[in-house]
């Protein structure tokens, strides 16, 4: 899998931003709200995809030796 760590971090941050946006609004503008929901849905999809079960990669490496 491509490194999606940053994406997950960013996606979660964006997702959090959307939740906060909804929290902050006294009256939610439906058009903007809908756009946010759409964006949120995409982010949730991405995050869920990244968080779904992915096998780990184990790789044994040799140590460099520096005694001097």
């Amino acid at each position: 899998m491509v490194d999606k760590k940053i994406n997950l971090k960013e996606s979660l941050s964006k997702l959090n931003g959307i939740v906060e946006w909804f929290d902050e609004q006294e009256e939610v503008d439906v058009e903007i709200g809908l756009a946010k929901v759409k964006e949120g849905a995409e982010l949730i999809k991405d995050c869920k995809k990244r968080l779904s079960e992915v096998e780990n990669e184990f790789k044994e490496i040799q140590r460099d030796i520096d005694k001097e």
């Binding site: 490194d3 760590k5 959090n16 939740v19 939610v28 949120g40 780990n56 040799q62 460099d64 520096d66």
Partner: protein, 522 residues
């Protein structure tokens, strides 16, 4: 292993590294040159079989290495030759010492004794080790870097174990044991050393929470150092979540004096690798077995490590100094795995919670808007209803008004009709007016069905008219007839009169009164 060749290889490596301006391990790792000293390859094929030497390295250093091996072999042969001829030809002192060193260097030994004298110099420490039972003594030396790595601060009277080999220093002819590692003996001594080092590092602030780096969120690339053997790896693997971790693993000893060096090399190796977090794990054990984890050099390496270090070392009474120096310390390999999983698992919850929040918030918004729209519609409906009601009232009023007008008109009509009927009656309706009336009145419409009988009807009327005309009394008068009336009544028989009655005789034009004189009954 040929220690002499090993030393020569190390010296050659050092020169190369200095010339090229690179660390010695970039020329060859210790493991590689140790393997060369052990297997003594004599050709390219044999050299390439050694781990750490590939074509590129061979092209660069291969010839030098093969030359060194060959030279050493030559010396050995010469030594052998010398051995054969030494009875005949006396050896020089130097050659003899070389011969002895060659023999002495071959076997490593591990010796135990008490430090009886100590001379710490810049690059080397000279000391003597005494047998505590019979007082036997051996001169020893340890290079400063090896000494530092041992993590022990030598003191006279301290009991230690040394690993190394004997060597005769040619200028003085003095035999010394060259120590390649040193370790403390006994729990008590270890505890004292531990407490002392702990206090020192603590004083430096190396265990302060403030300098600890937080573990990264969603760690992905993990550097793992532990021993491949043992249950530790199994525990770790069983508990690490399937979040697509990329785990680079270095198998290292985690017990005993040799572990210190391997751990140090492993940590240094990871220093140049792209990892998010370094994980060092091992199971529990005695204080002695934890020696490497209380080593000052290792502690400092952990402290200066560029990414966070997570340490999971089995339960024990005394916390390892590496644990204290690490950015995070837990007590089991399982706990390490759980710690790494934590942010990933939290992310799962965050996603689920966020999803719920966003949906519920937006659903509320939609509901609010729906309510608002419904309220607005209700208001509009009410407003329109009022208008409709007003309109209905107006309509009703108009209806009443119209009815009133209608009634008025009917009244007028009725009155008119009522007034006209007598007038018509009074009037001497001529037949033609009746006819006109019939033609012009609504009756005509009503009797539209009788239109076909119109002519017949007209004919009847004309007949009546004719009859009326013919029978008009005035017409008779014109013809010369007259009318005799008594008291306004037309006389038709003599029986109605008596002699002397005055009667009126009507003529076509005018009339006269006459007295009855004679009555003729015939």
């Amino acid at each position: 292993m040929d220690n002499e060749l090993l030393q020569k290889l190390k010296e050659w490596r050092k020169e190369k590294a200095e010339t090229e301006g690179i660390p010695v391990f970039r020329v060859f790792s210790n493991a590689t040159i140790e393997a060369i000293a052990q297997f003594k390859p004599t050709d390219k094929e044999a050299l390439l079989k050694i781990k750490g030497i590939r074509d590129r390295k061979y092209d660069k250093y291969g010839e030098n290495v093969l030359a060194l091996v060959k030279e050493e072999d030559q010396n050995f042969l010469e030594d052998g030759f010398n051995e054969e001829v030494r009875n005949d030809e006396p050896l020089s002192v130097s050659d003899y010492l070389d011969f002895l060193n060659h023999q002495l260097n071959r076997d490593n030994a591990r010796i135990r004794g008490e430090i009886s004298s100590l001379d710490i110099r810049d690059r080397v420490i000279y000391f003597s080790l005494k047998d505590s039972e019979d007082g036997s003594l051996i001169n020893c030396l340890i290079w400063k870097n090896v000494y530092q790595l041992s993590g022990i601060e030598f003191e006279v009277g301290m009991e230690i174990i040394l690993s190394g080999y004997p060597d005769i220093y040619k200028p003085s002819g003095r035999l010394s044991f060259k120590a390649s590692s040193a370790e403390l003996v006994g729990e008590g001594a270890l505890r004292i050393a531990y407490e002392k080092l702990k206090a020192k590092l603590q004083k430096e602030g190396l265990f302060d929470e403030a300098r600890k780096k937080p573990l990264p969120l969603y760690p992905n690339k993990i550097g793992l150092i532990t021993s491949k053997s043992g249950a530790v790896m199994a525990d770790f693997s069983a508990n690490i979540g399937k979040f697509g971790y990329k785990i680079s693993f270095i198998d290292s000893r985690v017990e005993g004096q040799l572990a210190t060096e391997e751990l140090l090399d492993s940590i240094k190796t990871f220093r140049n690798k792209d990892i998010d977090v370094l994980v060092i794990i091992r199971g529990g054990g005695s204080m002695e077995s934890f020696l490497p984890f209380n080593n000052e050099t290792l502690v400092r390496e952990v402290i200066n490590f560029p990414v966070p270090v997570l340490v999971g070392i089995g339960h024990e009474k005394d916390v390892s100094l590496i644990g204290l120096a690490s950015d995070m310390m837990v007590s089991t390999p399982t706990a390490v795995a759980n710690t790494l999983n934590e942010s990933w698992e939290q992310a799962e919850s965050i996603v689920i919670l966020s999803e719920q929040k966003i949906i519920s918030k937006f659903r509320n918004t939609i509901q609010e808007k729906k309510d608002y729209i419904r309220d607005s519609l209700d208001k509009m409906k009410n407003a329109f209803q009022k208008i409709f009601n007003d309109f209905s009232k107006a309509q009703e009023s108009l209806k009443i008004g119209f009815n009133s007008i209608k009634n008025r008109m009917n009244e007028i009509d009725r009155r008119l009709s009522g007034a006209l009927i007598p007038v018509f009656r009074k009037m001497n309706f001529s037949v033609s007016s009746i006819k006109d009336n019939i033609y012009n009145s609504i009756a005509k419409e009503i009797f539209a069905g009788f239109i076909e009988n119109k002519n017949k009807f007209e004919e009847s009327l004309l007949l009546y008219q004719k009859q009326l005309v013919n029978n008009d009394p005035k017409r008779q008068l014109k013809l010369g007839y007259s009318i005799v009336m008594k008291n306004g009544r037309i006389l038709k028989t003599t029986s109605d009169i008596q002699k002397g009655d005055v009667v009126t005789v009507g003529l076509n034009e005018g009339s006269f009164d006459s007295e009855v004189k004679i009555i003729n009954n015939k």
